[in-house]
Symmetry: C2
Subunit: 356 residues, 2 copies
Amino acid sequence: MGAGAGGAAAVTELSLGGHEVRWWNRNPATIEPFREHGGVRYEGVLGEGVATPASFATDLGSALAGAELAMVCLPSLAHELVAEALVAAQVSCPVLLNPGHTCGALHVANVFRERGVEPPPLVELSTLTYVARKPDASTVRITGAAGRVWAGCLPGSEEALRLAQEIYPAAVAARDVLASSLANVNLVLHTPGAILSAAWVEATGGDFRFYVDSMTPGVARSIDALDRERLAVAAAYDHALPALTEEMAAIGTAEATAAARGDTQAAIAGGEANRLIKAPDSLDHRYYAEDFGYGLVPMLELARIGGVVVPYASALVEVASALRGEPLAASGLTAERLGIAGLDRGGLLELVRGPA
Amino acid sequence: MGAGAGGAAAVTELSLGGHEVRWWNRNPATIEPFREHGGVRYEGVLGEGVATPASFATDLGSALAGAELAMVCLPSLAHELVAEALVAAQVSCPVLLNPGHTCGALHVANVFRERGVEPPPLVELSTLTYVARKPDASTVRITGAAGRVWAGCLPGSEEALRLAQEIYPAAVAARDVLASSLANVNLVLHTPGAILSAAWVEATGGDFRFYVDSMTPGVARSIDALDRERLAVAAAYDHALPALTEEMAAIGTAEATAAARGDTQAAIAGGEANRLIKAPDSLDHRYYAEDFGYGLVPMLELARIGGVVVPYASALVEVASALRGEPLAASGLTAERLGIAGLDRGGLLELVRGPA
């Protein structure tokens, strides 16, 4: 599910690996150019060629019939609508969110419950298993395949997690979805730079390299400040997560030597997979539309429930709200939408780990 | 006092106007190039030529002997050291802070009181009476002379305020120093853009026009959000201040037609006086070093005492602190440094207006 760069990369890898892939996208227009070209033209770390899925599905119900796994490769902004489509299609196979980003599994499970339907087995990956961009409508350029991601699942979905690990050996089981959610690097990697280069983005349409040109000392210092808050939230739930650049080095998107010595700027700017990636072309880009409301906002909710003060993360959401003219703390992935409103730390841990 | 662009512009105007100007600067090296050239080479709205002060003073005590007025044309970051120099020189004539920026008079008065000395008559102007830059060490380019500024004074300094108005007919008496302090446009005009273009500043050394290139829709929207908070703080003390672009149009730095129709972006980008001004060359520039800690921080203190919630201003201070790696809310112009810690709204109003 999904015909963006992530979906196209997954179709490529899974088709090349001999899996029967039925490719579905909510908007058929996005998938149509691939169908016209007989598949996905791919280039990069998986080689070059055309990868052909078993079918281009227009109806989700038939695509899911007899499927072993439904894989969702979409921005978290699309999770709500996709979850509704899965409810309507009466999905029964496990669902893998690749990625889940921050609290994707909690969010999708809550969409099912709100509609009175028991959620299917649900697994979320911390980060997309690819670094990929679409240079045109029928091509995917895969500049990196994740060397490690975290896979988290809700209680009862452990079998589905093992299935996800079969497909992605790079996926390491996290103790719970709070760990995989807080290991989403994008909320730390994108948000300070998105704020601190917003005028540059708007003035030039993003005509600079996000991970190189705008990775200045002040941006790196700001990323470090946010990362300390992220790790403190994780620690409140007994998770000792790696720092951002260590995590990126494990994924394969940061330069490992600089990461090891704690040089955030050099580690990020030196990462080959991200090196040529341009800045957002506008304030509607997912670095703004997704990583604040669907990254920092759920992190703020986990911080609140865990009793952790995160002034910098809160400030970034406030600044992004003024910048976009949208109250992100209210329009993003709130505790209500995650189905965790009113829970205390103990209640949340029971929800994500099962009874103690 | 002061040999930056503001001081040089003041020396020019006052010397041309026939005043006896004794020019002093804490660091003699900054004033020396002017002395070598026999005065200030000036160009711009006051014409072109060389303006010669009566003397270049090295000793503040003798410069002040028999003076009618001591005028301080320095960033607020320098107010503390200058106030200490004025205490040491046993100043008795009135002191005019041009500009006072935000809470300059309260700050300087508190420096005197902390040293056990009764403050002299003190007047603050909301904004520097010039738009000026120094293209080289002995030249000032004056691109604007303020059409209106606000002059505020502490109780008992009313005579000094009238003297300031004689020198600057553009100065309109504010009811109290809270009004003049909150009419400082720089804290609204500079801070959102400084944050939202910080990566651009660091990456290029400020190689773009701050009031034109980086005055994007998102930056303008952010300025509006901050301005609403500034006006709410002023309203808590019964001041109905003009909005930023109206104030700038009155000063002469915004395009009046766009300001009148509420188009912040066009009003600021269309202002002739600011049009060619480059962006900050680094994060040490006064837009970062001064306008947060000495603009937003004292505004936050006035907001707190006035019972006004200002989440966006607080967020900007937090983001600037991470960016600079400095806790600005603590290192800036706090209530303690202003001598207003522990006061409630009534107590603050009595301090700045005298007994009701």
